[in-house]
Amino acid sequence: MALSEHDVRAIAEYARIGLEGDELREMTAYMNDAVAMLQPIVDFDPKDVDPTFHPIGDLSDVMRDDVEKPGLDLESALENAHATDGRLFRVPSILGGGGLS
C-alpha cells in the first residue's frame, strides 16, 4: 500500500524533520520509490535463519578496564553549543511557554 502525504508528514514528525514547500510531495514520491526497491526483503522468506545484527560475529568486544579516567573537559564539551549556562546546555522551554530554560 502506497504511503500518502499524510503518512509521510507523520513520519517527518516522528523524525523531527520539518518538511517545507514542495518537500512533502517530493519526499512522498521518494519514499514510495524507495519502499518499492526494498520489496525483495518483504518477499524474502528466511525460515529458521537467525538474524546477524552485527558483522563482528563471534569476535570479542574490546572492553577497557573499569577505572575512572578523565573524559572531555568542560570547555571542550560546551564549545560547540549555541547557549550555555555554567556547566549546562541551555534549551528553549520543553513544555511550551517560551524562553530559554
Binding site: 523524525a15 519514499m31 526497491m37 537467525d50 553549543a81
Partner: protein, 497 residues
C-alpha cells in the same frame, strides 16, 4: 627539482631520512600543489597549513637530534571531513556541522600523524556520507581530476580526488556501502575497505554503525600497505569496542605473487545487466593477468547476493536515523534561532541543517523502524545478512579472493543521475562486503577505451585476510603498470621539491 607528486610514500620517507629534502619542504610542496590544483578540483574543504607545518618541523627537529623517524615521516595526508582532528572543523559536508570544531582527534587520524604523516587538510564528501558522487556536499561538488565535468564518486570523493590530483600522497576515507572503493575506481587510485573491526572508528561521525569502516587511499598498493601498518600497528583501540587486534605486517607479503592461489569469478555479478562493456572487459583482463602470474581462475556462486542492495537500504537508513538523531541543535550543530519550544527548535534546526539526501535517508529509516513495519523489513534484512555472510564463507572455501567490478561503469557526468534510487545502484558491487564485514579493495587497471576514464576492478577476501588482498592488488598493479598515476591535467602543477 621535480614535483613531489611523482614520489611514493616510501620515497618521501627515504628522502626525508636521508636529508635529500626536509619534511617542511614536502609540506610546502604539497601546499603549493593544493594551491595550484584545488581551485578546479575542490577536493579539500579546509587546508590545515599550520598543523602540517608544525608536524613537519617536529619531524625535522627529531632528525636533527639524530632520532629515528616514524615509518611515514613527511608523507602528506588528507582525511575525510567526517574525522575529528583537533585544530580543524569536522563538517561532514553539511550545513548542520558548518562551524563544528573538533573537540578531539579520531584514533585513525592520530595514528597516521603519529606515524609521521603531515595533515594537509579535510576532504570533501557527500553530506554525512550519503551519496555516490560527492554532489550532495553543502559546500559544493568535487570534480574528478581526470575530467572535471565528471564526478569523483562518493561519498569519499574528496579523499580520492586529493590523491588522484597529486595534492597529497595518502588519504583516509570511510566506507559504509562502497564509499572508498567506488571513488577510488572513478579516480584511478587504490582504495581499501579493511575488514570491519580492523581499523578503529573512534572519532568518526557515524552513519551506519554495523557497516562503517575506515580505510586508506593511495596511488600505489605499497602506499596503502604502509598506511594500513600505521592504522592497525598500535593494536586494538580501547575507545572502540569493535576494534580488533590485527598483528599483521601489510608489507611483508606484498611481492609474494599469486602463483597457486585461487581467484573466484562470480558470473552473476561480473556479467550482470547494466555493466558497461569496458568494465566487463576489465574484469576479464584482470582475471587473465592473475592467471598469467600463476593463479587459478574458477567460477563460484554467491547465493543471496542479489538481496544485498535491498538489505543495505534497510539496515543503512535505520542505523543512520538512529545515529543522526543526536543532531538537534542543542549541544552542537546548526540551531534555528527564535524557537519557542525545544521540539520546534529541533524540527526547524534539522529541516534547515540537513540537505535533501540526509533527510531522505533518515525519513526512510524512521519509517522502517516504526511499529508494524520493523518486522517486515529490518528483522528480515538482518536474516538476509546471515545468508549473505554464509554465501561468502562458502565461496571462500574454494577461492582465496573474489574478483568483481568495483562499479558498473566509469565516472559519470555531473547531474547525469538525478534519481536517488538509481544513484543507489552505483554501489551494487560494493555493498555486499559491508553487509558481511569482509575486506575489499579497488585497484586501477588503466583507462577505458570507450570513456577514456580510469577503470578498476575489485577484490574481496575473507574477514581479516586483508593482507592477502594487497598481495593480489599488487599483482594486478604490476601487470597493468598502473601504479603512481596522477591525473594528467594536474600532474606537475605546483609542488616542486
Amino acid at each position: 627539482m621535480s614535483c613531489f607528486d611523482v614520489l611514493s610514500a616510501r620515497e618521501i620517507v627515504r628522502g626525508v631520512a636521508a636529508g635529500d629534502f626536509s619534511a617542511e619542504e614536502v609540506a610546502r610542496a604539497s601546499l603549493d600543489a593544493i594551491a595550484a590544483r584545488d581551485g578546479e578540483i575542490h577536493a579539500l574543504l579546509q587546508v590545515s597549513e599550520e598543523l602540517a607545518l608544525s608536524r613537519a618541523r617536529e619531524l625535522d627537529e627529531a632528525r636533527a637530534r639524530g632520532e629515528a623517524l616514524p615509518p611515514l615521516a613527511g608523507v602528506p595526508l588528507s582525511v575525510k571531513d567526517n574525522m575529528n582532528l583537533i585544530g580543524s572543523r569536522t563538517t561532514c559536508g553539511s550545513r548542520m556541522l558548518e562551524d563544528y570544531e573538533s573537540p578531539y582527534t579520531a584514533t585513525c587520524v592520530k595514528r597516521m600523524i603519529d606515524a609521521g604523516c603531515l595533515p594537509m587538510g579535510k576532504a570533501n564528501m557527500d553530506e554525512f556520507a550519503f551519496g555516490s558522487s560527492t554532489e550532495t556536499s553543502y559546500f559544493g561538488k568535487t570534480a574528478n581530476p581526470w575530467d572535471t565535468e565528471r564526478v569523483p564518486g562518493g561519498s569519499s570523493g574528496g579523499s580520492a580526488a586529493s590523491v588522484a590530483s597529486g595534492e597529497v600522497t595518502l588519504s583516509l576515507g570511510s566506507d559504509t556501502g562502497g564509499s572508498i572503493r567506488q571513488p577510488a575506481a572513478f579516480c584511478g587510485v587504490v582504495g581499501l575497505k579493511p575488514t570491519y573491526g580492523a581499523v578503529s572508528r573512534y572519532g568518526i561521525v557515524a552513519f551506519g554503525s554495523s557497516l562503517d569502516q575506515v580505510g586508506p587511499f593511495g596511488r600505489r598498493v605499497e602506499d596503502v600497505a604502509m598506511a594500513m601498518n600505521a592504522l592497525v600497528g598500535p593494536g586494538a583501540d580501547p575507545m572502540d569496542s569493535t576494534s580488533q587486534e590485527c598483528p599483521v605486517d601489510f608489507l611483508e607479503h606484498l611481492e609474494d605473487g599469486v602463483e597457486g592461489l585461487k581467484v573466484g569469478l562470480v558470473p552473476a555479478l561480473s556479467e550482470a545487466e547494466g555493466i558497461s562493456n569496458e568494465v566487463r572487459a576489465a574484469v576479464r583482463g584482470a582475471a587473465k593477468a592473475l592467471e598469467d602470474q600463476g593463479a587459478e581462475i574458477l567460477e563460484v556462486e554467491l547465493p543471496h547476493i542479489d538481496d544485498s542492495i535491498a538489505a543495505y537500504y534497510v539496515i543503512g537508513p535505520c542505523e543512520a536515523f538512529s545515529n543522526l538523531a543526536r543532531f538537534d541543535g542543542v549541544r552542537y550543530g546548526y540551531q534555528e534561532p527564535g524557537c519557542a519550544t525545544l521540539a520546534e527548535q529541533s524540527e526547524k534546526s534539522r529541516a534547515k541543517g540537513f540537505g535533501a539526501e540526509a533527510k531522505r535517508r533518515q525519513m526512510l529509516g524512521a519509517y522502517l523502524l516504526s511499529s508494524g513495519v520493523y518486522d517486515r523489513y529490518y528483522y528480515k534484512a538482518q536474516q538476509a545478512r546471515t545468508l549473505i555472510t554464509r554465501s561468502y564463507a562458502k565461496a571462500f572455501e574454494r577461492a582465496d579472493v573474489l574478483l568483481f567490478p568495483s562499479a558498473p561503469r566509469t565516472a559519470f557526468k555531473f547531474g547525469e543521475i538525478s534519481s536517488p534510487t538509481e544513484m543507489y545502484l552505483s554501489d551494487m558491487f560494493t555493498i555486499s562486503s559491508n553487509i558481511a564485514g569482509n575486506g575489499s579493495i579497488s585497484v586501477p587497471v588503466g583507462l577505458g577505451p570507450e570513456s577514456g576514464m580510469p577503470l578498476a576492478v575489485q577484490l574481496q577476501g575473507p574477514a581479516f585476510k586483508d593482507r592477502r588482498l594487497l598481495t593480489f592488488a599488487r599483482a594486478i598493479e604490476r601487470a597493468f603498470e598502473a601504479e603512481g598515476s596522477v591525473a594528467p591535467a594536474c600532474a606537475g602543477k605546483g609542488g616542486e621539491l
